[in-house]
């Protein structure tokens, strides 16, 4: 499934989708950024509650398909602009990380 495809599901709302046709392969959940860089695979949908600017760099370097912000976390306009410029897809949801994972396991 593509990142844009997730938006068919009501759980997800778009934050920015500069590369919406990117295919999702697997899921990783984590908030410790070095842990994410050490363990997430390229193409993963990355579920996190972190909302600082460094998540954009981590998603870019770890080459994840998208960031999924859980628990209704929001980002500043500056971070969204940076993510758009770097080609990083971000979706948001009010669901918890666990609920998002359950949802993704049905969808992917």
């Amino acid at each position: 499934m593509t990142v844009a495809g997730l938006l068919q599901h009501e759980a997800f709302s778009p934050v920015c989708l500069p590369d919406g046709e990117r295919e999702i392969c697997g899921v990783y959940i984590g908030d410790l950024l070095s842990w994410v860089m050490g363990r997430a695979s390229a193409g993963n949908a990355w579920i996190t509650i972190m909302s600082n600017i460094n998540i954009v760099a981590v998603a870019s370097l770890a080459d994840t398909a998208c960031i999924l912000l859980a628990e209704g976390v929001t980002l500043s306009e500056e971070i969204v602009a940076t993510a758009n410029a770097k080609g990083i897809n971000i979706l948001a949801s009010t669901l918890s990380a666990y609920e998002l994972a359950v949802c993704l396991s049905r969808l992917l």
């Binding site: 908030d31 410790l32 950024l33 070095s34 842990w35 860089m37 050490g38 390229a42 972190m50 600082n52 600017i53 460094n54 998540i55 760099a57 981590v58 870019s60 370097l61 770890a62 080459d63 770097k86």
Partner: protein
């Protein structure tokens, strides 16, 4: 590619939020050279961890990247406090990062282990009160 390509970056130690600019630039440069996504991913993550370390602990430093046909070498140099016990610093989970850094999602004690994990060779030369030089190499498969 003939000979070698070199890139030099100054890593600004004053602004934690801009850390990673050198790694993101290297990622772009390596992509233009046509290297495989996996090699690029390994190099850029290892370099980012090193950059973050220099910003957290050493007030910045420099990053030099040398690309040849055989390998990519990353040399990170700082004039920070140095590492007292390198073996301890290499242990997963060991960290001396302050709380404000931890609240940003770093400082989990995974930086140096990740740098080792993603490179084929890593060497740390450090002197307390003088600084640290980390050299990492990633081989390019034929």
């Amino acid at each position: 590619m003939n000979g070698q390509l070199t890139f030099h970056f100054d890593v600004d130690g004053s602004d934690f939020t801009s850390a990673g600019q050198a790694s993101v630039q290297v990622k772009k440069d390596l992509r233009q050279l046509g290297l495989s996504p996996e090699i690029i991913r390994r190099v850029s993550i290892a370099m980012y961890e090193g950059e973050i370390n220099m910003v957290i602990h050493a007030g910045g430093g420099t990053a030099d990247v040398v690309v040849t046909e055989e390998e990519i070498e990353i040399i990170l140099t700082d004039h920070g406090p140095g590492i007292r016990d390198i073996a301890q610093a290499m242990q997963e989970g060991f960290s001396t990062a302050p709380d404000n850094i931890r609240s940003l999602g770093f400082g989990a004690g995974m930086g140096l282990p990740n740098m080792k994990r993603y490179t084929d060779h890593m060497d740390i030369q450090s002197e307390v009160g003088v600084g640290t030089v980390v050299t990492m190499r990633v081989s390019i498969p034929k």
